[in-house]
């Protein structure tokens, strides 16, 4: 994260949410999609992204497949069934957290 350390603890939620909206995504695509959605505010560092993707894969939350695209090898990540359930749970928790945060900051 380059611009805002507050995003740091939510990186996993962000990745899982992005993956839930696409069939599969590759590393660079994830960074660009997050940047695009936040209008450049969220810039994921590669050093944070890849260790997290590998950790999620080791935990069986996401899986990967390598494909040949225009003569290049590309590694795609996609949610597993376990990952889909976890993403839904985490999204509910995050929405509740954001709601409470908003309530507090709105006083």
């Amino acid at each position: 994260m380059k611009k805002n350390g507050l995003y740091k603890g939510t990186l996993q939620n962000i990745i899982l949410k992005l993956l839930s909206k696409e069939v599969k995504m590759y590393g660079y695509q994830i960074t660009q999609r997050a940047k695009e959605l936040t209008e450049g505010e969220l810039e994921m560092t590669e050093g944070a992204l890849y260790p997290l993707l590998h950790k999620l894969e080791a935990e069986g939350i996401i899986t990967s497949e390598v494909q040949e695209i225009n003569g290049r090898s590309r590694k795609y990540y996609l949610l597993t069934e376990k990952g889909k359930k976890q993403q839904a749970t985490q999204e509910d928790e995050m929405r509740s957290y954001l709601f409470n945060l908003k309530t507090i900051f709105d006083i």
Partner: protein, 230 residues
């Protein structure tokens, strides 16, 4: 569009950073996309874009000493540690499971039956890495083709299979004796039995750790084997 020579230059740069091939595939793709975007959006040359990307990755591609003394890129070390910690935890759980399983078995079996069954199970358990190796011998041969780099972060653990083989050869004749002592420990809490029980737990942990490492190596290598043409 990046030329074949430019792609090879990127590949060479990343290989010098000691990145295993399974991670190199995605890092190289990331580099290519980042460079292409700079070339198109900022209208700069390949070399200027490559330098910018190298600078972005500078901290993550710095090399650091790994637990075995080898040098690896910082972010590869982070990835490895997470994966290895998970295997470490699984092997500890498995060891505890084995300890409990043979304890409960000792409660219902006579010493003779216990010794016989535990000996058979020990041989099966000790032979599994060898069988797995033989079933995946092509993958292990593939690893030998890459002298300067590793197929994945688990490759360093392949020496465990050698250690496993040595343990089988040296301990084969004493497994049944060991099983008898462990039975005595469970039944009568003998000091000698306790020391053999500890040996059993240590060997089980070491073995399961090595075997899980080996399985992870093969699983990861299978995923990339058709895409490596370096």
């Amino acid at each position: 569009m990046i030329s074949v020579e430019q792609k090879a230059e990127i590949e060479q740069y990343l290989m010098e950073k000691k990145i295993p091939l399974d991670i190199l595939i995605e890092v190289e793709d990331h580099f290519l996309k980042q460079i292409e975007n700079y070339v198109i959006n900022e209208n700069i040359s390949f070399n200027a874009a490559f330098d910018k990307v190298k600078n972005l990755w500078k901290d993550d591609l710095k090399t650091d000493k790994y637990y075995n003394g080898r040098e690896v890129a910082v972010f590869v070390k982070k990835i490895s540690e997470k994966k290895i910690n998970k295997i470490l935890l699984e092997s500890v759980f498995f060891t505890v499971f084995v300890g409990l399983a043979i304890y409960f078995f000792s409660l219902i079996a006579t010493k003779e039956v216990f010794t016989e069954i535990v000996t058979y199970l020990a041989f099966v358990f000790l032979g599994l890495p060898g069988l797995h190796y033989l079933l995946n011998i092509k993958i292990f041969s593939l690893a030998k083709n890459y002298k300067s780099t590793k197929l994945n972060v688990f490759q360093n653990g392949n020496f465990l299979i050698l250690v496993a083989g040595l343990i089988i050869v040296t301990s084969a004749s004493s497994i049944s004796v060991l099983a008898g002592f462990i039975y005595d420990f469970y039944m009568n809490s003998t000091a000698r039995g306790f020391s053999y029980f500890l040996i059993l737990m240590c060997v089980t942990w070491f073995y399961s750790f090595g075997f899980l490492f080996q399985i992870a190596f093969v699983k990861s290598a299978k995923k990339i084997r058709t895409f490596i043409n370096l």
